[in-house]
Symmetry: C2
Subunit: 367 residues, 2 copies
């Protein structure tokens, strides 16, 4: 029976005896597998094949321990939800445990195709080869489709590679999804015709399965070239199912994903990618959010590192970035990245197109 190896970080009072740590690790292994006392199990094959096994408990720092548990791959299905359930379902309710990493065996890996386009596909679609990509956002919340389309036109004329809806823009009365996507995509397509560019627009898709399907149909009808989806908002199983049939690359947004006690490089970098994200947006260090440089480096590495058949996904650091930081970000992340500047461009108001062009130039200059 194939096993998957899950790494947790366990907090315990400094000086806790090894026996207490071993017992706590054992309780996690049972919780994440058969979820009942071993003494109540009646079949030997359940004990052999399905009970989680503690592989190691090693100290990391005073009060912090690394626990590795081998879970049975037999308890999984080809469903991201069930994978999350077995990795962390009930243990997520325990404040002393963080889910840090997982090694999946071939049978589990085969169930998840990963990104359909990946970095290479995004480069091909945007025509951005051999350089970092540029990305910006349509804001603010409350704007009409016409206003968002005007912003999109300016950004596309400036040569931004990817223009995404702000992740809070959904299907509100002031900018209904179908009307907005039609207006913005027309503006982007128009600008592309004028410049010969290949700017892609990523509408934000949201809602339950029916609404998501209807929005996907609009996206296709209007010819939008990308989609923005927040996997933790729509749910990982719905995300994976949508991605499988969407026909365009998907940018994953981390909304609601940071609250989970799951290490960001695992959740945003590896799992979003495994479940089909072609690009992963995340808060860069030094902006409005508090991720450290090391966390950001680890997210980027997790998103684009070699991983079996799973195509590399494009890291998209964001969250309060500015034009001034472009050289430093280029240096930090290298070329297989998209830099996302939203508000920092929009703050130029009437000079939006000029500032967006400065952004494009600053990135191009670094080739």
């Amino acid at each position: 029976m194939e096993r998957i190896l899950v790494t947790y970080h366990l907090s315990a009072p400094a000086g806790a005896p090894q026996s207490a740590l071993a017992a706590r690790a054992e309780s996690i292994a049972v919780e994440q597998s058969i979820e009942m006392p071993l003494s109540a199990v009646r079949e030997q094959r359940v004990l052999d094949d399905y009970v989680g096994r503690v592989e190691s408990v090693t100290p990391l720092a005073p009060g912090l321990h690394c626990v590795k548990i081998a879970l049975s791959a037999g308890t999984l299905c080809d469903d991201p939800g069930q994978l999350m359930n077995m990795l962390f379902g009930n243990t997520s309710l325990q404040p002393d445990v963080e889910l840090v990493d997982v090694e999946l065996g071939p049978a589990v890996m085969a169930a998840f195709p990963g990104p359909r386009f990946g970095i290479a596909g995004l480069r091909q679609l945007t025509g951005a080869s051999g350089r970092t990509l540029t990305c910006s956002a349509l804001k603010p919340q409350g704007s009409s489709p016409a206003r968002l389309a005007a912003i999109a036109r300016s950004l596309a004329l400036a040569g931004i590679d990817i223009i995404k809806d702000d992740h809070g823009i959904a299907d509100q009365a002031y900018a209904p999804f179908a009307e907005r996507v039609k207006a913005v995509q027309a503006a982007v397509a128009g600008a592309n015709r004028e410049t010969g560019g290949r700017t892609l627009y990523a509408p934000s898709l949201s809602g339950g399965p029916s609404r998501l399907a209807a929005q996907a149909a609009v996206l296709r009808d209007e010819g939008a070239g990308l989609a923005l989806i927040a996997p933790m908002i729509v749910g990982l199983p719905a995300f994976a199912e949508l991605v499988a049939t969407l026909g365009v690359p998907v940018l994953a947004h981390p909304a609601l994903g940071g609250a989970a006690r799951i290490a960001p490089p695992l959740l945003i970098g590896r799992l979003f990618r495994l479940f089909g994200a072609d690009a992963v947006i995340y808060p860069n260090h030094g902006g409005r959010f508090s991720y450290t440089p090391q966390t950001c480096r680890d997210i980027a590495a997790a998103a684009r590192g070699a991983w079996g058949h799973v195509r590399p996904a494009l890291p998209v650091p964001a969250g309060g970035m500015s034009l001034e930081r472009v050289p430093e970000m280029l240096d930090f992340y290298g070329k297989d990245t998209a830099l996302l500047i939203g508000g920092g461009l929009l703050a130029a108001k009437d000079a939006l197109q000029d500032r967006a062009r400065d952004f494009v130039t600053a990135v191009a200059r670094a080739i």
Copy 2:
């Protein structure tokens, strides 16, 4: 423009100046609304109608502050995902903030029907009137449909009101969903015919929208009377959409819900209920989990308290409960509750039916 009032708890260094707290509260209000610098906003109506407003910042304890922010109801849609997105999407990425509570206005409330059955509906379907309900679980992971059906038969013969799949049981090779639900429901229906009882079986539904729809069809075809769903695993929008058409009451399971920095009474008690859960399972204090008695009391109050048109949902405390604790739990929760004992009954092995009957008797005796 209707506003919703959101309560966050904000951690800050003890002695942080009021100006720093006010600025941090302001940044949350912007992050959860228009997500860009106010100075970059070009339309006055966006500033007036859509930017979040800090209503108050009050000290709770050294280093902990209560921040109340009024968000525009206009940024919402009739979608649980978008509600979560605006309540906590990006701010979930900030470790210093906990989402604690929300007051929704009439326009938002009207978008969410809440439980279709609620406590009264569950009492009617099970025939359990004027007393606490009893609930147990089918385990362990790895068991065949026949074995799970045998356990279900014993529990149903003993008169348990609700029998649910263990939440980790999905659509695995050793117990495929359709085969399992058929076998277990037949066993429960057979026992009901013998006893004249009305035990309900809740299969665990999981997966993406297609698999969920297929499983819902099986549930209906086989005549199972309930469903178990983990909203944070399938995603809140998919949960709400499924609940709307399922035709049977839904037990919400908290898997993956505890990791979020969202207060459990809000997430499990109020939001799961608002999105359609007829009963909410949660870890009781003093078992395998670490919720305090006060948290458990607050979850129960949130689940069953009066709340506009939203029917009360049944609190189902669980997680390592035992027969010995029944009197104390009855005393703590009162009658509008279901007590869930899983492993504690199964540990009786061959005497499962007797121990389950002791559970039923202990609860009945308390009338």
